[in-house]
């Protein structure tokens, strides 16, 4: 297919320069398109140098060709090594999630206010730092707080309870050695929190994190907070959310990070509960889970989209964090 240069994301000045040299399609520029032979960065650089373009245009074009063509190269998939999920400490919830939250996926939690979403976020942030010997991921986690529900004291309480649990289940000498040296401070040093007060801060944070992401999980608590009330122009909001959703997907593809996003719900005209942020956002998450409060400390989670769709599990929120309901 002939790709016209006007459809490439290069600045207008470069496009004008190329049209003045009678280049209309990408194939006019490059003698052999890099996706025809096996992808070769050196051949692209050599071809660009042969063309005798002014320095600024040559650099822009080479950067574009190398970045975009490298990203979109077709490859056969390989089934990788076994992925370690982030657990939630409630075995019924974990089995509903088929093990927990895996890397490279976007999971969305929905719920009314008071349905346990913020507590679940804090528990998942702490669970990321469980050492590998106990089946955890031992990675850093970033908890982005949009509406002020994250409480550092609660995080410490949950970390303490996790450490107590690890001490109880340690059996072998190696495991006991690790837990004796582990402190609450060390567990919490892997949990990062950031507070965003408007949507531009949120987008800027995600941009910075995407550049070199070494977190294992990024948890956004209440994405809808900044998008629900600030926008007068709905079209602008849809575009910003679509762009944001693209950024999140790219982040998941490039790095083995789990994205956990909490969304809010609203009532629609007929009185049924709908997720916020509209239909176009609802395609972003690969799994969607609806949380509901059943009684004083019993909560239920139902899968709306994803594997085991329609199934429900109950869990309890206690002073120790998210745990199983006691069996009756």
């Amino acid at each position: 297919m002939a790709l016209p240069i006007t459809s490439l994301p290069i600045p207008q000045s470069t496009v004008r320069y190329l049209s003045s040299r009678n280049v209309v399609y990408l194939s006019d520029l490059l003698k052999t398109l890099p996706w025809l032979d096996s992808y070769n960065e050196e051949s692209v650089i050599l071809q660009m140098e042969e063309l005798n373009l002014p320095e600024v245009h040559r650099r822009l074009l080479t950067d574009f060709l190398i970045n975009h063509l490298h990203q979109t190269a077709f490859q056969a998939p390989q089934i990788g090594k076994k992925l370690v999920p982030i657990i939630t400490f409630s075995s019924s919830l974990d089995s509903l999630l088929c093990g927990g939250i895996f890397p490279n996926e976007i999971v969305e939690f929905l719920g009314e206010p008071g349905s346990g979403t913020s507590q679940l976020c804090m528990q998942l942030a702490v669970d990321c730092s469980i050492p590998e010997m106990f089946g955890g991921r031992a990675c850093k986690s970033l908890l982005i707080d949009c509406n002020g529900d994250t409480c550092n004291i609660r995080l410490k309480q949950m970390a303490k309870a996790t450490l107590t649990h690890l001490n109880l289940i340690a059996r072998s000498a190696e495991e006991k050695d690790i837990t004796s040296k582990l402190t609450v401070d060390e567990l919490l040093s892997k949990v990062y929190t950031a507070r965003c007060t408007n949507y531009t801060q949120l987008i800027a944070l995600i941009n910075t994190v995407s550049k070199d992401c070494n977190y294992g999980a990024i948890i956004i608590d209440a994405l809808a907070t900044h998008f629900r009330h600030e926008f007068e122009d709905m079209r602008q909001r849809t575009n910003i959310i679509a762009e944001f959703s693209n950024k999140l997907h790219k982040l998941c593809i490039d790095a083995p990070v789990s994205l956990i996003i909490v969304n809010q719900v609203r009532m629609d005209g007929e009185g049924s509960i709908q997720p916020c942020l509209g239909e176009s956002w609802s395609h972003t998450a690969t799994r969607r889970i609806f949380l509901r409060r059943v009684s004083t400390d019993v909560y239920s989670a139902t899968i709306m989209k994803g594997k085991r769709s329609g199934e429900t599990a109950n869990f309890r929120i206690s002073s120790r964090g998210i745990r199983d309901c006691p069996a009756h």
Binding site: M1, L3, I79, S282, T286
Partner: protein
């Protein structure tokens, strides 16, 4: 594309066509063969990607090549139980420009089935910008898909938007409505089952199981 005699094109079609296990879908769209551009639009979680994976498995079972262009990472559990994984090529795209480049690259591969999963977020981000560049890019994508569909069957997934009065329509606006050759709307009916509509007249029922999907007439 050079002028080519019809019988040569038909012979090439026959080589690239693959046997599928969804005869009802075959009839619903008017034939699953190269030249068709099929759009599956529906709300989130209704099973658009599941239908795509079922067709990918059929195509790989028949020993043909499949190209997948995806805006979201493909998990390992989607890939297990798929035969002939070396015939499947995956390209990840995160913007319209990446999509255009991937479509240009597919043209030089000979694949029977091209699946574009999640086209809506890619195109939605450029629509509605102040200048007309958004519509121009939409046109480019339409042309790109059209060129690819000459040699392969193209299936892509779109989302739904509400069009007033509680009705739903495909996302991406009026200009995109003419892009596919067939549009299948997937909705939930009153009892919660999944139905597939073509032109709001012909309907079929969809069930998702562990081994794949099952489509039957309503």
């Amino acid at each position: 594309m050079f002028p080519t005699p019809c019988n040569w094109l038909l012979r090439q079609n026959k080589l690239l066509k693959f046997q599928n296990t969804l005869p009802v879908l075959d009839e619903l769209v008017g034939g699953l063969h190269p030249g068709q551009i099929i759009e599956l639009c529906g709300p989130s979680g209704i099973g658009k990607s599941q239908v795509c994976w079922h067709l990918i498995r059929d195509c790989l079972n028949a020993g043909k090549n499949v190209a997948m262009i995806s805006s979201r990472k493909i998990q390992d559990y989607d890939l297990e139980n798929l035969p002939n994984l070396s015939n499947l090529s995956i390209s990840y795209v995160s913007s319209v420009y990446n999509l255009l480049i991937s479509l240009a690259a597919v043209n030089s591969m000979s694949v029977s089935l091209v699946v574009i999963d999640g086209i809506q977020p890619l195109l939605q981000a450029v629509l509605g910008s102040a200048n007309f560049k958004g519509q121009a890019l939409l046109n480019e994508v339409k042309c790109g898909i059209g060129t690819v569909s000459v040699k392969s069957l193209v299936i892509y997934t779109n989302g739904l938007v509400s069009v007033g009065d509680g009705n739903h329509g495909p996302a991406l606006g009026r200009a995109w409505e003419v892009a596919p050759s067939v549009r299948i709307m997937m909705l939930r009916d009153r009892e919660g089952g999944r139905v597939m509509w073509r032109n709001r007249e012909v309907t079929a029922r969809l069930e998702i199981g562990d081994q794949g999907v099952e489509i039957s007439w309503n």
